[in-house]
Symmetry: C2
């Protein structure tokens, strides 16, 4: 059969543009034993994908030129030569940006759409929710009464981090990029306070005011000047899970900033980078916890859903405009 | 009785000078119950003292103007109104820079000079040895076969770190500031390789050459450009204990450098500042380990001994010239 795919047409310099992607037809071969034919339902777009568009060593290999982009996809089975899957099953996995595609049955995982909407398995019950859970709990180790600051707080990971911190009895402050987002954090997601960095002249003072007892855990999704300001307010023995550096992803030169080590040293601070797959063996435990909190009404989740396969690049580029709230997915 | 003391005369801007210190006479009061009279034998001078000369929040409070400097001192008891100490006992503690001084018997600890020379309790069996031990073992967590890089490697902490890493089966590379020091590290202290950063044009390449499997643990005593070069060679899941930042201590402005977070993030690296007193409850365990390795001949230690109470400021200033090898102490 013939289907559509998006390939990486060229590597971006700085901010990616539509020219870096190309939609084209592709022929799929016949199914072999152990394989299944899948039709994409929901495609995840995530900030980390920007890194894979560079030709650089990182935790995941770069996308290749003229090869399909890939990411998390929820798909339904439309054909099967596997004993484990039948037509109509809904699965999740890392798949190419194709409307239809073939996968080995070992590379997919069946999902339970009675527990939560299918798209949630790309979000709060998928990589983003698990990223929030393990980064906060394993590295941040929040204790009741402590102050937790989250940057990129209205993003898919950020809203989950803040809510888990509230569940653990912390004072939670979010940093986001618009008044609407800041308001959502306090009204819808239970954050104690939120700061719109775009309208705040002195972030250092704003964080000090929102965190009268200093910052014990800083869950960093953004990096750059915002993180500098938070770190100026960091407490002795604080923990800083490094989850993302979206403010720097489109830099074409090595970004410079104040050296961190003197502050980390004099205040005995821990900073640790991580990727959710470090915790792969613990995923079932994380999903169970997250699903439990959703069921109890303690953990809410929002999505921005873009319609149409052809809008995959647009949805990805939108992440860097800061326009989305919560998890960005594309429904086909 | 009347004795001599050194006070902080003024706070340094940048590199400290002799003008920042003043020697003067001071009268000691009569001993009260529970107090002992002590005569200093060995005075420790340490890089961290530079931080206490500033009026800035840190892990130890600043020295006060016109008040005596203080630090680790080995002293002998010359008078006692305590049931726990008698004349002739040798003790260690944090004391003022005075030739004679009074201490509460709760603030001193008797030392066993049959196990090691008295001055060792300011070094390998004191704060510097314990700093090396806990920073490397608790944060660095070296595993056999891994590569450990130490900066400030010929310093009091550095030589101990390197030897403990060798005891644990690691490939150990030291960075130091002269050919003599680099040679000492490989010939006397068992390091596998050593780099003289002062004569190395491209530190990044030199570290890559000395660490063909990359860097798993970077024990950082210096900060600045040297650390930037090491971190460019850091492995996935590496650990960076932050012990000192001597290259930055005399900065008068906030030092700038390449932002670290992208590297720490993409390689899942842990960086953690610490001060040895975080491990206070585990000190007896650390001293036992270190003393055992000394006894087995696996752990060597060198000192630079300056003579004369009046040379305390000179000895401290000497730390910032990079002239000393091993622990710097002043014998009176």
């Amino acid at each position: 059969m013939t289907t559509k795919q998006f390939v990486l047409a060229s590597r971006p310099k700085g901010l990616p543009t539509h020219d870096n992607f190309r939609m084209e037809d592709v022929d799929l071969p016949e199914l072999k034993d152990g394989e299944i034919l899948l039709q994409g339902m929901y495609y995840s777009v995530d900030p980390y994908m920007r890194g894979r568009m560079n030709d650089a060593k990182s935790y995941v290999p770069p996308f290749e030129i003229d090869q399909p982009m890939q990411g998390g996809v929820v798909a339904k089975v439309t054909g099967s030569k596997s004993g484990s899957y039948t037509t109509g099953d809904v699965v999740v996995g890392m798949f190419p940006w194709r409307k239809d595609f073939i996968a080995n049955d070992k590379d997919v995982r069946k999902i339970d759409t009675s527990l939560a909407p299918a798209s949630y398995y790309l979000g709060v019950l998928g990589m983003t929710g698990l990223t929030a859970y393990f980064g906060l709990m394993d590295i941040g180790k929040p204790k009741s009464g402590e102050t937790v600051v989250v940057s990129g707080a209205a993003g898919a990971v950020g809203v989950v981090v803040g809510q888990i911190a509230k569940i653990h009895g912390c004072h939670v402050v979010g940093i986001a990029g618009s008044d609407e987002k800041a308001k959502l954090l306090t009204t819808d997601f239970g954050f104690d306070d939120a700061i719109n960095y775009k309208t705040t002249a002195d972030m250092n003072k704003a964080i000090a005011a929102a965190c009268p007892k200093g910052v014990d855990v800083y869950f960093d999704n953004v990096g750059g000047d915002i993180s500098d300001a938070v770190i100026r307010n960091i407490n002795f023995h604080a923990r800083i899970p490094l989850c993302g550096q979206i403010s720097l992803y489109n830099s074409t030169e090595i970004p410079m900033g104040p050296r961190l080590q003197p502050m980390l040293l004099t205040r005995s601070v821990l900073m640790q980078g991580f990727i959710v797959t470090n915790y792969q063996v613990q995923f079932p435990e994380g999903i169970k916890k997250l699903a439990g909190w959703i069921k109890e009404g303690k953990l809410k989740f929002t999505e921005t859903i873009e319609q149409g396969f052809e809008n995959l690049p647009k949805a990805l580029l939108g992440l860097f405009d800061g326009e989305n709230t919560g998890k960005m997915v594309v429904r086909v």
